[in-house]
């Protein structure tokens, strides 16, 4: 169900990367026909192979971007959070969406129709440059994903993922996992079992995981594990049983 954007929605949308550097009035003009969509868990926002008529901005919640293969199972391509935009590029081509977007939890999404935006671009080309900048960011992220899948071990990808959740520069930090471990596993190209064992190995490096709560003793060390050559890491990490401080009661 679509509805008009609230003031709060505008707060989020106008601050988003896609519109970075644009004048406030330009943004106002762009999002004039935009609507907000409220979604329950597992509801779809866009569907792979449907004609691309709009792009989207996450206002609140988490969105899973995935591709379904002919054989039925799905491959997670990316996870989008509040303030992220997706499907910008394809919306301008008139082609079809190349992936499906699904709400993970209760989610609010802004929908920006492409046809109107194309007209805006013809009026002020700077919009296009802002869009390209945003798309370039997405490409960078995809390139990094390819690199990680080809060059890192599973444990290293998990380390990288955890490190990316923290804003801390150095030292100790606490954080919480943003969604199900099953989803995290899918995002990292692992099975849930392997993710579990990767966490166990990282315990030896000072990473404690209790349900969704994570504490990292030394974030620099974690980043070093992620950055090292995959063979350097080999053997240095062994699975560790739960220590006393980590037991649930």
């Amino acid at each position: 169900m679509s509805s008009k954007l609230t003031a709060g929605d505008l707060q989020v949308i106008t601050r988003v990367a896609v519109f970075r550097g644009l004048k406030s009035e330009t943004v106002q003009h762009i999002i004039e026909p935009a609507t907000a969509v409220m979604l329950r868990p597992h509801e779809l926002i866009m569907r792979q192979d449907d004609p691309a008529t709009a792009f989207f901005i996450v206002i609140d919640g988490w969105v899973k971007i995935y591709r379904s293969t002919v054989s039925g199972d799905e491959t997670v391509i990316d996870m989008m959070k509040k303030g992220d935009s997706f499907a910008e590029a394809v919306a301008f081509t008139g082609n079809r969406y190349i992936a499906t977007a699904e709400a993970v939890n209760t989610t609010r999404v802004g929908r920006i129709p492409a046809d109107h935006l194309i007209r805006c671009i013809r009026g002020s080309p700077d919009i296009a440059l802002a869009m390209i900048a945003s798309i370039s960011q997405h490409m960078h992220h995809l390139v990094q994903q390819v690199e990680h899948l080809k060059a890192q071990s599973g444990v290293q990808r998990v380390a990288e993922f955890l490190a990316s959740l923290s804003l801390a520069e150095q030292g100790h930090c606490a954080l919480s996992l943003p969604y199900d471990k099953i989803l995290i596993a899918g995002q990292l190209g692992l099975t849930p079992e392997s993710l579990s064992r990767a966490f166990a190995k990282l315990r030896g490096a000072g990473v404690m995981i209790n349900a969704s709560q994570v504490t990292v003793k030394d974030i620099v060390k974690l980043r070093r594990i992620a950055a090292e050559d995959r063979n350097t890491v080999r053997g240095t990490l062994r699975p560790m049983p739960l220590s006393a401080g980590n037991v649930r009661h």
Copy 2:
């Protein structure tokens, strides 16, 4: 060494996807300051982390796009052939290149400066839409790579790669590998040894490989191997020794 574009260069460049749908005079205007660069094997076209001041079009030869990790080794991200463009998106952002481009063989590349192109866009915004369409294609390709790395086995990726080399709709076909097997292995996220064994397994499915010459008995069957669930394929393919018809003399 840069030089002016020849008539032959223009033939290639004006037909490229980036400029699809643009008027001939518009394209002429865009590529006015463009130059052509001739490269020997292993020479670099752009370097990861250098400021992005231009984007490129391959006029002839093969270009390897890769990222170097801190630990020194490189990860192949993509291979570009005649008519492909790369680094469009980042060239507009003023950021730095996120990967390195290296000539695989003797290669000719067109270099299109970004600053001039940005001025062109301000004059006629349709250029931006054409660029976004091209960038969207690149994203599609990256998304597919992520999907393949996460969901396919090595043999399936090899099958997919071979199938993508053929234009044939069905039946028998012959083709030649476009570059070194070491490079193919890197592109598919395999070691050369594993690629070799994957080829051996595909022999059982009617794929014969002799140096760079490949013959496929049934291209549909090959595509089916690539598309199937990775568990369905399991066990159905075993390594096969060279048969009489496949021996070099």
